[in-house]
Amino acid sequence: MAATIPVMPAPGVRDDDDVAISRNVTIKRFRKHKLALIGAVVIVLIVLAAVFAPLLHLQDPNAIDNVHWNGTPLAPGQFGHILGIDENGRDLLSRLVYGAQISLTVAVFAVVMELAIGIFIGAISGYYGGWVDFWLMRLTDVFLSIPLLPLLLMLTAIVAASSNKAALNFSVIVAIIGGLSWPATARLVRASFLQLREREFTEAARAIGNRDGRIIFRHLLPNAVAPIIVQGTLEVANVIILESTLSFLGFGIQPPTASWGNMLANAQANLTLAPWAAIFPGLAIFVTVLSINYLGDGLRDALDPNMK
């Protein structure tokens, strides 16, 4: 990659046309990827359902249906509960939709945080090189060598022990996941920057006296944005799984707030009694994550066909 000669627009030619053409090519390539399109549609539908949940005339996700609930979960399709009632007498469909709000917002906020940290560290590391690069990369090595899930679990356990489990709220979960899952992004951004800083436009930007900060964020970063978009998309999928695993194990989003993970927390105990209560929340995670992974794959093909 380092050996490729950058294609520069000829002097005097406005490069707006080039941009327009490449954008069309990108869209065309994306539209060829049928599964990515389907994935995008599914994600839009799930996001719409989560955003407009209050308009869907669902029951309160935390309300207990005392009329029909007799202490055991109810099968789908009875008494207006399309997906049935969970072991605590709450409507499963409504918890699923409100759970989507939590699971998706945790994922998006955590990924924004992780991208911010990863881009910052990767950019500094790749642009300056030398001992700054050396130490920042050793730091990423440290985080890549410690298995992420146990580390997250230990941190959440420390937070829970400091006050109580209710302290594990939305922002704590976002901060812990976002604060620890940035190393992959940092490495990716560093790799792009190592190439970009050798390019002529960087030299030109430096020659006319731009400050480092401006070169990094205005000249180099826009050129490294394609892999970051792909990485960010795939990370949303990873974080959804991570958060649901934490919540399933009891160290993520705490009940009664519904998240797709904690809806499954009691599923194993009730597996023979209420298999549907185990099936639907997991299916929601699986379909969402699968759609995002296909979308990410399509974006990768569209934005940067050389990347694989």
Partner: protein, 314 residues
């Protein structure tokens, strides 16, 4: 040799995190009404807990180097004992998963690469996406539901697999032990079958394009021979790195798998310690697992250089 400093940095980070745990190692005593604040102070002084953090870290490091990871309150034994007791069960599960993932993943990847864009290839690539998108804990529950709760009924028999635990006494026949291994192994392997088959496919597609493959075919070798002797071996080399990179994830997956299948390994030990707030065990587990990860990454580098003579390490 960057591995020793790397392990030191890991231990500093983990020690710092651990030092943030409330109450510290004396937490169990704080709840005891018979122990006065003066006793706590004396204990703190005796254990050196009133020293500044760097000094405590240095002492702790000294203990680690002599193989002392502290005392696990929830298990009433030392952390090293607790981990070593559970290690065989975890390695049995991880070993079985590793073999299964390697065989299925590599075979599926190779065959889909030598016949690209055929129905088989589409099945393999779709399966890779499905496997990568599957939350391990939900897959575990679905496996239990399908094979342990419902089982297989037909031909006049009902077959169901055990959903939990492991049998370690001598009375247990080998068959029984294997039976208990089936569902957890498949659960833990799914993600790696998916990832490794996807990786093998693209690695093999690269190799098929190379000049030496064309030469081998041009000189008239049978195409299976070309694929197996020339292609397969070269496509396999980069997988070593991917396997080493998968290791932290396999330990994470083992925590979930062991918890759901009541498997008496290190993962479940870790999870139980979470609820008991047994921080010295959590710490010991993370340190031990990180050490294994660093060690296997080093091993992967060595193996890589041995397999591929083009790679030279200075």
């Amino acid at each position: 040799m960057q591995n020793i400093p790397l392990l030191l940095l890991i231990s500093i980070l983990l020690y710092y995190i651990l030092s943030q745990a409330p109450g510290g190692p004396l937490a169990p005593y704080l709840q005891n009404p018979h122990i006065t604040p003066a006793d706590i102070e004396r204990l703190k002084h005796n254990f050196g807990l009133d020293q500044p953090l760097p000094i405590r870290y240095a002492r702790w490091l000294g203990h680690i180097l002599t193989g002392d990871l502290g005392y696990s309150n929830s298990n009433s034994e030392t952390v090293v004992q607790a981990i070593l007791e559970r290690m065989p069960a975890t390695f049995e599960l991880m070993g079985a998963s590793f073999v299964l993932s390697l065989i299925v993943g590599v075979a599926a990847g190779i065959f889909s690469a030598i016949r690209p864009y055929t129905p088989f290839d589409y099945i393999v690539t779709s399966f890779a996406f499905f496997g990568q998108s599957m939350p391990v804990f939900w897959f575990a529950l679905m496996m239990q539901l399908a094979f342990a709760v419902y089982g297989f009924t037909g031909f006049g028999v009902h077959v169901a697999l055990p959903s939990a635990s492991i049998c370690y006494t001598d009375e247990c026949p080998l068959w029984d032990r294997l039976e208990h291994l089936v569902l957890p192994t498949i659960t833990l392997s799914l993600l790696y079958i998916a990832q490794w088959s996807r990786f093998m496919r693209s690695s093999m597609l690269e190799v098929v394009k190379t000049d030496y493959m064309r030469t081998a075919r041009a000189k008239g070798l049978a195409s299976t021979l070309v694929v197996m002797k020339h292609g397969f071996r070269n496509a396999l080399i980069p997988l070593v790195t991917i396997i080493a990179l998968s290791l932290p994830g396999i330990f994470a997956g083992a925590i979930v798998t062991e918890t759901i299948f009541a498997w008496p390994g290190m993962g479940r030990l870790f999870f139980n310690a979470l609820g008991q707030q047994d921080f010295s065990l959590l710490m010991g587990y993370l340190m031990f697992v990180s050490f294994l990860v660093v060690f296997f990454n080093l091993l992967a580098d060595v193996v890589y250089a041995w397999l591929d003579p083009r790679v030279k390490y200075s």
